[in-house]
């Protein structure tokens, strides 16, 4: 893919993004780079604009201003079928149609390559199987989506996004409905995928401690503005958290790897 100076090292480049809901400004002048081969976490309190940012970047909400580029190519005005070749979204679980089989659901990620009739070719079957393998859901392929647990559904949504074969992946609070075990295994999987498959992943996350453990970079949104961005140690400081969440916190360090962990000041 041709690289321009703007895009070196970054698959996704967000510049001056401003977005509004019902005339109310929700995102203001947000600029953020999402590097290749890393997980960038998007954190912030409720209403800070995380979901809005995901929606604006994925094209379901039209931004009021700003540019969104992938590998140096402006995608703001691309039609859905072209945009879906560059950027895939894994939404929250519980949003999958239950009657389809897992295989059928993941195959729908191939939509940008299938054309209107939707009959898959050999390559589409290969990519679907590969996505199932990567997410360790191949054994579920014949199951009905409705019969899966929340953790399994989240993996299937991730597989569907991977089947789209895009350089950039957006995850919208993927661990919200999962228990701790599934949160951790899911984020380990996401981390591994970014590093091994050279994906640029932007994940909106709620849990600050899991963010610290599994994100390479952290972007902190507050009141629709980007308050801080950097490594977990740089971003997850008491001052930053206190300002964004309006809560006094204490930051300690993980005994094993020294990463910051956030405790509320009880």
């Amino acid at each position: 893919m041709p690289e321009t100076p703007l895009s070196i090292g970054f698959a996704l480049h967000i510049q001056g993004l401003t977005a509004a809901y019902n005339g109310c400004l929700v995102l203001e002048d947000v600029s953020l780079d999402v590097p290749v081969g890393q997980v960038t976490a998007l954190i912030g309190p409720n209403g800070a604009g995380k979901t809005t940012l995901i929606r604006a970047v994925s094209g379901t909400l039209r931004p009021r201003a700003g540019r969104i580029m992938i590998n140096g190519r402006e995608i703001t005005n691309l039609p859905p079928e072209k945009r879906a070749c560059l950027l895939a979204v894994a939404p929250q679980s519980g949003n999958l149609p239950g009657e389809f089989s897992v295989y059928q659901a993941v195959m729908m990620g191939r939509t940008p390559y299938l054309g209107w009739l939707g009959y898959p070719g050999k390559r589409d079957h290969e990519k679907t199987l590969h996505a199932l393998e990567l997410t360790e859901t191949l054994h579920l392929a014949r199951r009905r989506v409705a019969s899966l647990s929340g953790g399994e559904q989240q993996r299937v949504l991730l597989a569907r996004a991977l089947a789209q074969e895009t350089p950039v992946l957006l995850l919208d609070e993927p661990t919200t409905y999962l228990d701790l075990h599934h949160q951790v295994t899911f984020l380990q999987l996401v981390h591994r995928l970014a590093h091994q498959n050279n994906l640029a992943i932007l994940a909106a996350l709620h849990d600050l401690n899991l963010t610290s453990l599994y994100a390479d970079r952290v972007a902190l949104l507050s009141n629709g503005r980007l308050q801080a961005v950097g490594s977990p140690a740089e971003t997850l400081t008491p001052a930053n958290i206190q300002q964004a969440y309006r809560l006094a916190v204490r930051v300690i360090h993980h005994p094993k790897n020294g990463l910051p962990l956030i405790l509320p000041e009880a």
């Binding site: 072209k82 939404p91 149609p97 009959y119």
Partner: protein, 346 residues
């Protein structure tokens, strides 16, 4: 029940649906005040092919009964059932609502209003009827569906029950306007009443030939839209993120479904529930994939409406029951069952 369903489901779907349709069509032509034996019917059909040298050994009345009366009637019913059932499957997928049906959504009543409006203009039926009536029905069906959708919409979502309630309201409104128009127009429009109840007073080959292009276009587009409907099951936002031009897909499917309904209503009147029952049975038997579900609903709906028509013509013979009465008789309990099921799943 489940075991029996799964043993039926093992027969190739299109073969099973085609056999069902073929048998229904044959029965529909054979059964009536004068019974035509199967062997005779086969020979009568073969005799149409020149060069086979089959000599007629059947009463001459048989030819009139089969080729002038029953066959065109059956084919019109076939097209109607196919159109209503294919449109029902598409509406159910488009609104992600198991209760959607051309009748319950109000699009059939809207089409009826459009058709009667044009009829009441006293245009010469023979010239404009076959052109203007279906087009007016199309406009009416579209208007009704748009009204229902926007009345039922709350923020971004449309609750299944809200959609049906809005459908009932719009349907009642359109029906009352239709009744008013018919009473205003006097004697000439009376035969429209029988038509509107699904009595299909039209006969002969002309309505079949007139309905054929409309139904073919509408159902053709729907059959090709199966993948778009599959992707839309994840919701519009996800569909767009997966690369489907969701707005365009919705408009194309809505237009094609309403076009099919308009053709069915313009030539056969308002017949409820067939578009609800058949796609459901097809989905239970063969799964949710709309690339198969639409054509299978089309075949199944054609066969099912032929059977309903068979009952309607023979159950109180020599009198004829409106076909809509028969479909409602089976359809209403089915509707209640689907309603219960969909609420349990919520």
């Amino acid at each position: 029940m489940t075991r029996r369903l799964s043993s039926i489901a093992r027969v190739p779907p299109f073969l099973l649906a085609a056999i069902f349709l073929g048998l229904s069509l044959a029965l529909s032509v054979m059964v009536g005040s004068v019974a035509i034996p199967a062997g005779t019917l086969v020979r009568m059909l073969l005799a149409q092919i020149p060069g086979l040298g089959i000599l007629p050994d059947w009463p001459t009345a048989f030819s009139v009964i089969v080729f002038q009366v029953r066959l065109p009637h059956a084919l019109l019913i076939l097209l109607t059932g196919a159109a209503l059932s294919g449109a029902g499957a598409a509406y159910q997928g488009l609104f992600r609502n198991p209760l959607a049906d051309p009748y319950l959504l109000g699009s059939a009543s809207g089409a009826g209003l459009g058709a009667v409006l044009v009829m009441s203009l006293h245009w010469p039926q023979e010239i404009f009827g076959y052109l203007a009536v279906p087009l007016a029905a199309f406009a009416g069906a579209l208007a009704a569906v748009f009204a229902v959708y926007h009345l039922a919409r709350e923020k971004q979502t449309v609750a299944p029950i809200a959609l049906i309630l809005a459908g009932v309201a719009v349907s009642a409104f359109a029906s009352s306007l239709t009744s008013y128009l018919m009473l205003q127009s006097g004697a000439e429009i009376r035969r429209a009443l029988a038509w509107l109840l699904g009595g299909s007073s039209m006969s002969g080959w002309l309505p079949v030939l007139a309905a054929l292009p409309y139904v073919t276009v509408g159902l053709g587009v729907l059959t090709l839209s199966g993948h778009a409907l599959n992707v839309l099951q994840s919701g519009e936002e996800q569909a767009r993120q997966m690369g489907l031009n969701a707005e365009r897909a919705k408009v194309v499917i809505l237009l094609a479904a309403s076009f099919s309904v308009a053709a069915a209503v313009a030539f056969s009147g308002i017949i409820g529930f067939i578009g609800l029952i058949v796609p459901h049975v097809a989905r239970l038997l063969w799964g949710p994939d709309y690339r198969r579900l639409i054509p299978l609903s089309v075949l199944g709906g054609a066969g099912a409406l032929l059977l309903a028509d068979l009952l309607a013509r023979n159950i109180i013979a020599p009198q004829i029951l409106p076909i809509g009465v028969v479909t409602a008789l089976f359809g209403s309990p089915f509707f209640l069952w689907v309603l219960r099921r969909s609420r349990e799943q919520e």
